[in-house]
Amino acid sequence: MQTRRDFLRASAVAGGALVVGVGLDGRVFAAADKARVFGPNVWVRIEPSGKTFLTIGKQEMGQGVRTSLAMILAEELDADWTQVNLVQASPGPEFKDLGTGGSWSVGGSWKKLRLAGAAAREMLVAAAAARWGVAADGCRTENGTVVNGARKLRYGELVAAAAKLPVPATPKLKALADFRLVGARTKRLDGPRIVDGTARYGIDVKVPGLLYASIERPPAAGASAASVEDAAARAVAGVKGVVAFERGVAVVASGTWAALKGRNALKISWSSPSDRGFDSDEHWQKLESGVAEPGVVTRKVGAAPAAGGKVVSARYYYPFAAHAPVEPMNCVAQVKDGRCRIWVPTQAPNSVQRHVAEALGIAPEAVEVTPQLVGGGFGRRLNADYAVEAAQLARKLGAPAPVQVLWTRPDDMRHGHFQAASIHDMWGAVDGKRAVGWRHKKVSSPHNLSGPPTAEDLADPVAYWQDSSWGAYDVPYAFPSIETSYVRVDAPIPIGPWRAVFSPSSTFARESFVDELAHAAGADPLAFRLAHLDDQTVKIGSLNVDRRRLRRVLELVAEKAGWATPPPPGRFRGLACNVYDGETHVAYVVEVSVPPGRPPDQLPFIVHRVVCALDCGVIINPLGIEQQVDSGVVWGLSNMKGEITFKDGRAEQGTYKDFPVARMSEAPVVEVHLVPSHGEQPFGIGEPTVPPLAPAVANALFAATGRRLRRLPIRLSG
């Protein structure tokens, strides 16, 4: 069965290519360098100068992973942070899992990187101890030096000796209490290059002889170019050619503008797809009909509640959504001498390597992928489609020149994959101040980027549909009767992961409906939640949900937000919480007001303040965590504004006007409170901050207006 994590880790399946790390400064480790550097493993290299190179095996897309992973390595290495340089790993035998998704970079790299840093440090200490003729355990390390009494040796002075020592298999790790760097507020290492314009994203790749292409793609799946009139396009100065290929019709030019102009001058008649094409209004009707289906029960606790008590039911509606990163999809590809070179901003370099190799019919080893900085990922760049497309075009060109395919903004919004629309049919019963029954049926479309679920996938249907409905089946509350289910309604458009994968819709419905039950029970929404959270850690599907940790973040957020005291006049509070993927625990309290006369393109309410309490296990970088809360809050607000609709197989939106995202004036003040962690494992932060935001706002809107917001997006006027 392909689990969510398998899907995210599909990039792990890879052959080997060159093991070449390229730093953002363009530095390449050639084999010759290896002789004079200390490189006990692929993660750490130290030069005689003391310059320290740390390899980053995950993709930076704003979540701060180049900084947080470097912090983990540098902590165990006791490196001099000012000497740290980053090397971005490329797919190869030593880097088979560069895929970045599911908020699993830090959690999944933690042990491996600690061991790598600690092994290097132990070897440097052994080299110093040997030189001084003292016992290794009489030495300590700090800031890139080994210290013994008054004696000190810089790591750079030890590299030659250390390189001759055996690499310890089980180096001693630091005690968490001894951490100096991990846990400290640390600014991102890429910051200076971002503010001076020298940071290079995928779109910025310039290689000698580069050609530029813009592709007119079929408007709907299944259509193909029946005829192409390209004389006007070819007449545009700078246009080198017009190429029809597997993915559409490409205009190839000496510059981006000529390519775009040429593309606009194309006249293409498309064959009609075999059916009339996808229509989201019709799809909504299918989803609505799906509610009557029994679906697959994804979790069952207790027997159905006895009659009596108060019964509440409601349906929640959640739209199709695009990712809309500000850097649109792009890729540079070159096919030459049976090999392919790819420069791409991707979340999944190994997957790119594998898919490009498959498409070109060459060995994965013949595909060299150089991952670039990513100008926003959000799950969109887990899909290798745009790299495969560029490679197919490069092959079709037959010229050895590299070609950059740049997607326009409308291309990006219309031709990617989407967060699936869903309906959540909710039912609950309360008796006094306690819930006695809970049902949550999710009606939606499964991810299909690697095809629809196979028979093998569905061999364990419960596990499969749990994976598509987390946020629903892993409802954390200790309700005596729970039934969650999933009804599958396929959508013939690409459906795949979004930020927080498949969780936001389910969490929106669940946390809003918990509020409805609290209201029906005449209970305070906080008290109602706490009353249904005991001290147990419960195994739900493959997840461990620790209700005690969830209680703690709820109690903390309530304390910090002043839940027990009235909000300022005119403001109203809402609350929501979530355990993301059994790992990071998040609670929000938001304060909103609903002033009349909001601009038509803005949300009809103002979120003034968001208080967040969060437990993500071991804290690597508090500053980075705070950023990700800011980020999740704004993403959650955008989630309340934008919707993709389809007519005749085509997405109708194509700009930040018709798929609006939150802007500066809508961004609230965000306060973050981290729960001191226990345990020795860090968890992710890029995604967990998203799902509970929209329901917290919706619950505040109920407090403000007495009306339940059960359909996203909020209809913006105008």
């Binding site: 930076e60 503010v195 779109i203 926003g376």
Partner: protein, 156 residues
């Protein structure tokens, strides 16, 4: 085709490109100044913002014919060493996440501060609402703008 003269980052540049080529693509493809980003091409997102004599303009909306003879500053020309007060404030507040939109953000902030040295939150909203950051770094951008304003005040 006769070259068009544009001043970019205080240097006179002779550009040979069609008159309708947006300044954005002149900067990126002809002059190799990739710090200016493409985000939408229709003036909605602000990623391509540059300064024209201190005023923020969308380089995707300025054809070369209109840019002729004018003087522009891109993120690469804001300072030689990252020492402009906005760049420093951006670092101090650790604003960037993916960072892709930030050149446009910084240059818009520069133009705002030029016009209003001590902007209120409402002033900031009005100007910065024209820019999209999909990572949601807005709160830190606001702090950085106030910080840059304070730095300028302290220097006066």
């Amino acid at each position: 085709m006769a070259p068009t003269i544009v001043v970019v980052n205080r240097r006179r540049r002779a550009v040979t490109a069609d008159a309708d080529t947006p300044l954005l693509w002149v900067l990126r493809d002809e002059l190799g100044l990739t710090g200016t980003k493409y985000g939408c091409g229709v003036g909605i997102c602000g990623a391509c913002t540059v300064l024209e004599d201190g005023r923020a303009v969308r380089s995707c909306q300025v054809p070369l014919s209109e840019a002729a003879g004018k003087s522009f500053t891109t993120i690469e020309g804001l300072s030689s060493d990252g020492s402009h007060r906005c760049q420093k404030a951006w670092i101090e507040e650790d604003v960037a996440q993916c960072g892709y939109c930030q050149a446009g953000m910084i240059l818009s902030a520069c133009a705002l501060l030029e016009e209003k040295p001590e902007p209120s939150d409402a002033d900031i909203d009005e100007v910065m609402d024209r820019q999209v950051c999909r990572c949601g770094s807005y709160a830190r951008i606001r702090k950085a703008i106030h910080r840059a304003a304070r730095a300028a005040r302290a220097a006066r």
